[in-house]
């Protein structure tokens, strides 16, 4: 590896004339209405964070309405039905439309420049995710004004949320709206995982990766494993509401606790999904402000990974009052305490860094200190509620409301404000005002403590949560009035922050205020729309501190890829551990497909809520058409190798194991597999709650059908393999017809298998509405059918590409991705058959 002395730099000066202009041309941002077509992550990141802040304001206004109502006993500002909608919408919007998207947005915004990539590998996916979120979220908010907002609490427990007790469409809004937004979060997560692993600057090996990149990697990994549980839960509940499949109805073998399991399997990690990136902000901000490298980098990496995993072992601690076996509850109580260890490690590392350096009390520093205080209180009350007996007391009181806001506001809102004040100079011509910022920090700090500390007391005095009013004379008056005053102090702080933004935020990529904090990481390199002029070689964790003259050399174009090598948008793909350059990946430019596909996907989901099935199907079809158009142009095939400087000649757009699309598909398969795992969990869970499994009188699907399905699945797998062999064979001319037949045959076999499976259920006399047993069997088959449908579309594209001569020889990435997914569909189908057909009823 070369060092940093000037003569070794890959590209000589002066740079040829026109090189920079060419780079600017390919990365030029569309103007006017065509802004909607931009797919560049830095631009999308801005839209994304702006939208998240808007949703925060909206949910904040709802909170103020609630606090105004609760200021005085027996107040009549808001009636109980509206109050139910307010707290449900406030909690839902804060958690799903603000907290997760806000941190995901910061990832999308910061990561490309932090790892010095021109862009992350799937820009259109990010654009799609953003627009889906923006449009879907906005429609979701509108429900409040039409009096159809969900009102069963942010965790939507059945039976309250089920058809019997909420017959109107309000729960459907929640289930379809939020389920849909989860899908968009997953899309963003795929982008982040592959981006962090594969587009880091040369030399930025895992041990030199900024903590924020580690954090976003774990964050995105957690989304991949947590969100499918939520999607499974919402899908089952929606199936129950729409078609009366009784997953959660006890009389027909269902169990409302199943929802709680699925919800909290997602919901507890969700807290850490929100908290980890926020901690990542701090690990970037604290060293800069303390003017020294972070102490305990390795310990923090360990803590981040540990938290990510261990937080999945905690879901039942939200269910201590539901009567589970004592020993199961004690696992979770123990795990709740174990997870405190990694959080503690991070806090100690920050404190040590602050203590060892010289921290100036800038605005971000004030927010960091506020975080330390508030989050610690939240952690302490958290340890209290992790004790099973204490939780029995505090459950469903204002003590919990206080705890969760201390954790969420301390752990996420304060770090986010610190991050905004810290990173605005990177995107704006002017930094935000230090003077105003300090006042904002003080107001928020006082307001939060005034609003939420008294709630602990209200809770211990017995005030339940989610009540729209309370009678005079229970001693709850003073604490409630204080809470309301505190809420308005917070609002004043937020208003002042908006004023600061209006005064000072002037977006600009090329003429931003720049490295005002004198920070050490790469996002502070001078940038244009193409990010950095050339892509640096990294030899340190804080390159701008340790590699002299780096910024100037990068900007002069002396490092890798100082222009565009292929005449398109492109970035360097590096190996995941050592970050050695592997190939140049061309990236898509602006286009309408992500925007339109997202708009019509959102429309399809929202039309389903109001049971407009035909228009929903139409919109869905248009969305799929858009995605097909997008896939059609996605795989442009390998190009001639190019020079990126320093004598390094890299291939352009490779196929196979190392290709970015393969990595993305693997992540997608992990997601699909987790969702499937959740359905299997549901199957086994329902089995344990039913004395008879299968229930008496339920028919047994014939084993011969299952055997046929299994054989078909295996045949599909073989056909995928054979297709690959034909495609890569050296025979000239290549047997194209054979290839096409194999692709169609593989898709047809997978389809026939799932049809055979469905027919066998029906022939056995099973009906999904009869019992939870039938319902879960049909649900598993329906999921298999859904994936098979996706596979048919992918296979269709491969087939059409073959007809159009857009596939063959080394140009085969779209086939490889399809075949990989095809194999997964086979595996899942076989596991489903084994579990549901081989041994029903063995356990009891």
């Amino acid at each position: 590896m070369s060092d940093t002395t000037a003569p070794d730099l890959p590209n000589p000066l002066p740079r040829p004339p026109g090189e920079l202009e060419e780079l600017e041309r390919v990365w030029r941002r569309p103007r006017g209405i065509r802004r909607l077509t931009e797919v560049n992550n830095s631009q999308i990141g801005l839209y994304y964070i702006g939208t998240a802040v808007m949703f925060f304001l909206f949910a904040g206004v709802l909170a103020l309405l609630m606090r105004a109502q609760l200021a005085l006993p027996e107040n009549a500002l808001v009636d109980h039905d509206l109050y139910n909608q307010l707290f449900t919408m406030h909690g839902t919007v804060m958690m799903f439309l603000f907290a997760v998207p806000a941190v995901e947005a910061m990832g999308v915004l910061l990561l490309p420049s932090m790892v010095a990539a021109r862009d992350l590998p799937f820009p259109r996916l990010s654009a799609y995710a953003f627009w889906a979120y923006f449009i879907g979220g906005t429609i979701f908010l509108v429900s409040l004004f039409l009096d159809v907002a969900p009102r069963a609490g942010w965790f939507m427990y059945p039976p309250l949320s089920s058809a019997e007790y909420t017959p109107d469409v309000s729960s459907d809004f929640w289930l379809l709206g939020i389920g849909f937004i989860e899908i968009s979060a997953i899309a963003g997560a795929i982008e982040i995982i592959v981006g962090v692993l594969r587009t880091r600057a040369p030399g930025m090996s895992l041990d030199k990766m900024p903590v924020f990149a580690w954090v976003m990697l774990v964050f995105a990994g957690m989304i991949v494993f947590a969100f499918p549980a939520m999607i499974a839960g919402t899908a089952l509940l929606e199936l129950e509401r729409a078609f009366d499949w009784p997953f959660f109805i006890a009389e027909r073998g269902g169990d409302p606790l199943l929802w709680q399991h699925l919800f909290w399997f997602f919901g507890h990690p969700e807290v850490y999904i929100i908290f980890l990136p926020a901690a990542g902000f701090l690990s970037m901000i604290v060293p800069t402000l303390a003017r020294r490298p972070l102490i305990g980098y390795r310990a923090i990496v360990l803590a981040v990974i540990g938290t990510g995993f261990l937080s999945f072992g905690l879901w039942v601690h939200h269910m201590f009052t539901t009567g589970l076996p004592a020993i199961s509850m004690s696992f979770f109580s123990a795990a709740s305490m174990a997870v405190a260890i990694p959080s503690g490690i991070q806090i100690f590392a920050w404190i040590a860094t602050i203590a060892a350096g010289r921290m100036q009390l800038t605005t971000p520093a004030l927010f960091v200190l506020g975080f330390l205080f508030i989050f610690t209180i939240g952690g302490l009350s958290g340890v209290m509620v992790a004790m099973v007996p204490f939780d029995w007391q505090a459950h469903d009181t204002y003590f919990i409301v206080a705890h969760l806001h201390y954790v969420l506001i301390g752990g996420m809102v304060f770090p986010l404000f610190a991050a905004i004040y810290y990173w605005v100079p990177m995107i704006s011509r002017r930094r935000l005002s230090e003077r105003i910022g300090k006042v904002v920090a003080v107001l928020l700090f006082l307001g939060v403590n005034l609003a939420f500390f008294p709630m602990h007391v209200s809770g211990l005095m017995g005030m339940p949560r989610r009540v729209y009013t309370y009678p005079d004379g229970l001693g709850w008056e003073v604490t409630n009035l204080l809470s309301t005053i505190g809420a308005f102090v917070i609002a004043a702080g937020v208003a002042l922050f908006l004023f600061d933004l209006a005064r000072n935020l002037r977006l600009s990529t090329t003429r931003n205020a720049g490295n005002v904090w004198d920070a050490g990481t790469l996002e502070w390199l001078p940038t244009g729309t193409y990010q950095t002029r050339s892509i640096p070689i990294v030899t340190s964790r804080d390159p701008l501190w340790d590699q002299p003259n780096l910024a100037a050399d990068v900007e002069a174009g002396r490092y890798y890829l100082p222009g565009t090598a292929t005449g398109r948008r492109e970035t360097i793909v590096t190996s995941s551990v050592d970050a050695r350059p592997q190939y140049v990946l061309t990236l898509p430019g602006p286009g309408w497909t992500p925007f339109f596909s997202a708009a019509f996907t959102a429309a399809a989901f929202m039309l389903l809520t109001v049971k407009a099935v035909i228009p929903a199907i139409l919109c869905g079809a248009i969305a799929i058409g858009g995605i097909i158009a997008w896939m059609w142009r996605a795989d442009i095939g390998p190009r001639a190798p190019v020079d990126i400087g320093g004598g390094l000649r890299l291939p352009v757009n490779i196929t196979g194991r190392n290709a970015h699309a393969t990595a993305g598909t693997v992540v997608l398969i992990l997601c699909a597999g987790t969702l499937f795992g959740c359905l299997l969990f549901a199957y086994f869970f329902l089995w344990t709650v039913n004395a008879d499994w299968p229930p008496a009188g339920a028919g047994a699907p014939s084993p011969s059908w299952a055997a046929i399905a299994a054989v078909l699945l295996l045949a599909a797998s073989l056909a995928w393999r054979a297709g690959r062999g034909v495609l890569t064979s050296h025979d000239q001319p290549r047997p194209r017809l054979m290839f096409r037949l194999l692709v169609l045959g593989a898709a047809a076999a997978a389809t026939a298998a799932v049809v055979a499976d469905g027919v066998s259920l029906w022939q056995a006399g099973l009906r999904p509405a009869d019992s939870a047993y039938g319902a879960i069997l049909y649900a598993i088959t329906a999921y298999q059918a859904f994936l098979t449908g996706a596979l048919i579309i992918m296979a269709g594209i491969v087939f059409a590409r073959s007809l159009a001569g857009r596939i063959g020889g080394p140009w085969r990435l779209s086939f490889e991705v399809t075949a990989l997914f095809g194999h997964y569909v086979v595996v899942q189908g076989l596991v489903a058959l084994a579990v549901t057909r081989l041994f029903p009823g063995v356990a009891s």
């Binding site: 004592a326 990694p342 390094l648």
Partner: protein, 111 residues
């Protein structure tokens, strides 16, 4: 700086990094699932035995991961990877011990 060709080893790096906690997760799910089934069927006596056995196996596997991680050499990044993998496995041993203690303290299937 040189370009590198495709490698299988790179694909295995991440699973190795997380191996300790993957073991933790498998043990957790196995024990949780077994307890649920056992308590329905009234085999409460078997629960503590199975828990302890599962923990012993999981801790042993994690010991192997720790050894492999500490032995890993090569590039600076490779050693870092090994060290973190070992630490991750050590952390999961702590978590497993924590989650095994209830087997000695709590009556398994009491509600």
């Amino acid at each position: 700086m040189t370009a590198v060709p495709a490698s299988r080893r790179a694909a295995a790096a991440l699973p190795f990094l997380f191996a300790g906690l993957i073991v933790w997760a498998v043990r957790f799910l196995a024990v949780y699932g077994f307890t649920a089934i056992a308590c329905v069927n009234g085999w409460s006596g078997a629960v503590p035995v199975v828990i302890v056995a599962a923990s012993v196996v999981a801790i042993a596997v994690n010991g192997v991961v720790i050894a492999a991680g500490l032995r890993r050499n090569g590039s600076e990044a490779g050693r870092f990877l090994g060290l973190i993998a070992a630490a991750v496995a050590a952390l999961s041993i702590i978590a497993i011990v924590f989650e095994t203690l209830p087997a000695f303290l709590v009556d398994a299937c009491a509600a």
